[in-house]
């Protein structure tokens, strides 16, 4: 459903993403981890069409993001780290704007808007202007808008920032449910625990390169020394956090994916 093929992106002399090859099948929740400046945001921007790769291609549902961005965007939902809303629109008006953009029929739009308002508990403030919303309310509204058209691919950039524990729970349940229904989720996060809890596969990016790609079980196996590149026999098993820090540290060897 998502395919990065030999994707490189440079900013002048600096290479932000180097030779990324990654395929994410339908119904998978993929978490991209990495320290600040690792290339996660660049990867996400290329995936949603905000940035073009210097080399290689990014496809969503078979549509190239550079050659056919509109077709690709029809299959995409995106929740950015800094939610953007029209301040002078109410939450409900914003949802209608998004539904119209995706060409949803009036009946479908009405049904889906009400469903998402209920899912994200937006009812209390859906008819207030967005300028009065807190960060958490904005984030919930953007979540609702990204899921309106039931996209094949949902891209999340640090999705839990600003959400209260109850909203975090709602989002987590929803992601599980949607991925079971066939939606592919690509999520960038700093939180190892969330990746561990939700992700089918995890990618750890350091300095523009994938240092680790595998399931959480693979990562855990490495941490406990059962993996191919685990600690030597007799050594203390590492915690996931320690392993992550080792992989992402400047001098961490990090086995190839």
């Amino acid at each position: 459903m998502i395919a990065f093929e030999g994707v490189t992106r440079s900013y002048g002399e600096k290479i932000a993403v180097a030779g990324l090859d990654l395929t994410i099948p339908r119904g998978e929740l993929f978490a991209l981890l990495g320290p600040n400046g690792a290339g996660k945001t660049t990867t996400i921007k290329m995936l949603v069409g905000l940035l073009r790769p210097s080399r290689g291609s990014v496809c969503v549902a078979g549509h190239d993001l550079v050659r056919d961005p509109r077709a690709a965007h029809l299959h995409l939902g995106y929740v950015p780290d800094e939610p953007c809303l029209y301040e002078k629109l109410t939450g409900r008006e914003f949802l209608w704007f998004i539904a119209d953009m995706f060409g949803m029929s009036k009946a479908d739009a009405e049904r889906r808007i009400e469903a998402e308002i209920a899912n994200f508990e937006l009812g209390e403030f859906a008819d207030d202007l967005a300028e009065s919303y807190s960060l958490g309310m904005r984030q919930r509204l953007v979540f609702a808008s990204s899921l309106l058209h039931d996209p094949d691919v949902l891209v999340l950039d640090e999705p839990m920032v600003g959400l209260d524990p109850r909203s975090v729970r709602i989002v987590k349940d929803l992601l599980r449910e949607r991925t079971r229904g066939g939606m592919t989720v690509f999520m960038s996060t700093h939180t190892l625990a969330m990746a561990e809890e939700l992700a089918d596969r995890v990618g750890i990016m350091v300095r523009g390169r994938l240092r680790f790609l595998g399931t959480v079980a693979d990562l855990r196996a490495r941490a406990t020394g059962q993996g191919t590149a685990g600690p030597a026999v007799g050594a203390e098993p590492q915690s996931l956090e320690q392993l992550y820090l080792d992989i992402t540290s400047a001098d961490g060897a990090g086995a190839p994916p």
Binding site: A3, V48, P69, A71, H75, C84, G103
Partner: protein
């Protein structure tokens, strides 16, 4: 990878047509406009009424001015109108290319909305059309506010038939669309093809346009002082302006079309002239539409490419060392005053690094300086020069008041989100308010006093009057700073992060109104006695000693100083009291 097969369940989404996309954006614009208007009516009635009142006043004054001017010009040289129209519209055309280009740069690439739209399944050409309408509106309202009184006055003076007045708006709109679209096309091409050179290219182009305009004004007006306003001078000026009469320029189509629309044949019939006017309108409309098509094509090809180039840009990392001035300011003086000086240094750094602040400051004061430099071209009588000096003083004050309202008034509010820093520092809250006042006062006094000195020198004003103007200027700087800082501390909006929104709220509007009244009061109480003194001098009533007229001038100055003290300390007192009690 081949496109995903359709799922068993029919997809909720479908690609929509260009027409549907445009309809959605129209609905969006309608919703945003009606919501903004409703809120303005609810919360900013004062501001809205002031805007309407001042616009009506501005329109009426311009209409009166142009009516007089056209009556004068029409009686002397009827053919001069064409030249004036061409010069006016062609210079406006250049400005419209740049202003729309800059507006579209922000609308298409740098706003959060631009990023949102780029992630939705919407065509680039529709995004361009949507943002173009916005930029077009912002660019054209100034032209319509300025052009409509001028052209209405022209029509009345020329006894134009009614179709002239009916055609004014279509002519103006069709004309503005051409430079505006050109600005948009240039902007998209520059962002897409010159990612590295964009800023340099933009600065070079802006600089060149500014130089060209200064050159044009210089070329048109620069003649020896003695020849000014003579027949030969007029002839020379007009022959120089004739370079703007190029038949391939939209400004020429507009000028010719308007002149034709206002004309009557000798027998009083208008049909032939009206047909000619419509022909020019058709040329304008067809070119505007053709350029729109080109603009959309360019957007389809370059918009996403440009947006990607722009995202790729890394902000320049530059090690910033403490400047000698900051160093000097932080260390000079007593230890007790150091926190206050450090606060001023912090604001000074923010000002220096915020291009939007100092560039506006430089442009407005630069243009004012240019105007003051050019007043020397004309010869004035003694009393007349003194009055122009006072008017120039008022203009300097009014420009400063826009800056104090726009940039100084929001300063306390903007500390709201950073209050946890300032609140925990060993700094007296009063010092925060005083630091803002001193920053504004000292920052304003230097350019303002220099400008007043330049104006008075160019006008050849007597030294005692220059000294009086300078005292008034200091009074204005102190009073305006006091009003902005005091009211800013009295009515802070600690939740808002946008300085322009803070400035345009009730407090900001009130600050601007009080500032304007204060400037008018200071200028009037000093200008009237000076005027009376010159009148007495003309009648031989002023003797060599300390005359009654001189006492009147001194009293006027004392009243201005008293007004200044009141305007400085009363708002500051109220502001300090409120700020001490403030609970963020």
């Amino acid at each position: 990878m081949t496109p995903a097969p359709p799922s068993a369940e029919a997809a909720l989404f479908r690609p929509i047509s260009v027409g549907e996309e445009s309809g959605i954006f129209l609905r969006l614009r309608w919703l945003l406009a009606s919501s903004t208007l409703r809120e303005m009516l609810r919360t900013s009635r004062l501001r809205l009424s002031l805007v309407i009142l001042l616009s009506a006043l501005f329109w009426g004054s311009l209409f009166g001015l142009f009516h007089e001017a056209f009556t004068f010009v029409d009686s002397l040289h009827a053919e001069v109108i064409s030249l004036l129209f061409n010069a006016f519209f062609s210079s406006l055309m250049v400005m419209l290319v740049f202003s729309t280009g800059i507006l579209l740069y922000s609308g298409l690439y740098t706003t959060p909305e631009a990023r949102l739209l780029l992630t939705l399944p919407v065509r680039s050409e529709t995004i361009f059309a949507h943002k173009f309408q916005e930029a077009f509106w912002f660019s054209s309202w100034g032209f319509i506010l300025l052009g409509s009184p001028m052209l209405t006055a022209y029509g009345i003076v020329r006894h134009a038939p009614w179709p002239f007045f009916a055609l004014l708006l279509p002519f103006m709109v069709a004309f503005v669309a051409i430079p505006a679209t050109l600005g948009g096309i240039l902007c998209m091409a520059m962002v897409a093809w010159m990612p590295r050179l964009r800023l340099h290219a933009l600065s070079i182009a802006l600089g060149a346009a500014l130089l060209a305009m200064i050159g044009l004004v210089w070329m048109a007006l620069a003649t020896p002082r003695a020849d000014t306003m003579s027949a030969a001078w007029f002839e020379q000026v007009f022959s120089r302006l004739s370079i703007t009469e190029q038949r391939m320029l939209p400004s020429w189509w507009l000028s010719s079309g308007l002149i034709e629309a206002a004309a009557r044949a000798k027998d009083g019939s208008v049909a032939r002239h009206q047909a000619e006017a419509l022909r020019y309108l058709a040329v304008l409309v067809s070119n505007a539409l053709m350029l729109q098509l080109v603009g959309r094509q360019v957007a389809a090809r370059l918009h996403r490419l440009g947006a990607s180039q722009l995202v790729s840009e890394i902000p320049t990392r530059r090690k910033r060392r403490m400047s000698w001035f900051d160093e000097f300011l932080s260390r000079a003086g007593t230890a007790r005053g150091r926190p206050l000086r450090l606060l001023i240094v912090k604001d000074l750094r923010i000002f220096r690094r915020d291009i939007s602040q100092w560039s506006q400051f430089a442009i407005f004061f630069g243009l004012l300086g240019l105007y003051f430099w050019n007043v020397r071209i004309f010869n004035y009588q003694h009393a007349y020069a003194a009055m122009i000096g006072f008017l120039n003083l008022a203009v300097v004050g009014l420009i400063l008041s826009t800056f104090t309202t726009r940039f100084v008034f929001p300063m306390i509010s903007l500390e709201g989100r950073r209050f946890w820093i300032l609140g925990l520092l060993p700094v007296n809250r009063d010092q925060i308010v005083w630091s803002k006042f001193l920053f504004s006062f000292v920052g304003g006094i230097v350019p303002c006093c220099l400008l007043v000195l330049l104006s008075d020198t160019m006008l050849g004003i007597a030294p005692w009057l220059i000294a009086l103007h300078e005292v008034c200027c200091v009074v204005l700087c102190a009073g305006l700073s006091g009003i902005a800082v005091g009211l800013g501390a009295r009515m802070p909006d600690l939740r808002e992060i946008s300085p322009s929104k803070i400035a345009s709220g009730f407090g900001g509007t009130l600050s601007l109104v009080i500032s304007s009244l204060f400037i008018i009061a200071v200028v009037l109480v000093t200008a009237v006695p000076v005027h009376l003194r010159f009148a007495a001098e003309e009648r031989g009533l002023v003797t060599t000693g300390w005359s009654a007229a001189d006492r009147g001038v001194a009293l006027g100055l004392a009243a201005a100083v008293a007004l200044g003290l009141l305007a400085t300390f009363l708002p500051l007192f109220l502001g300090l009291r409120a700020f001490r009690r403030l609970e963020p």
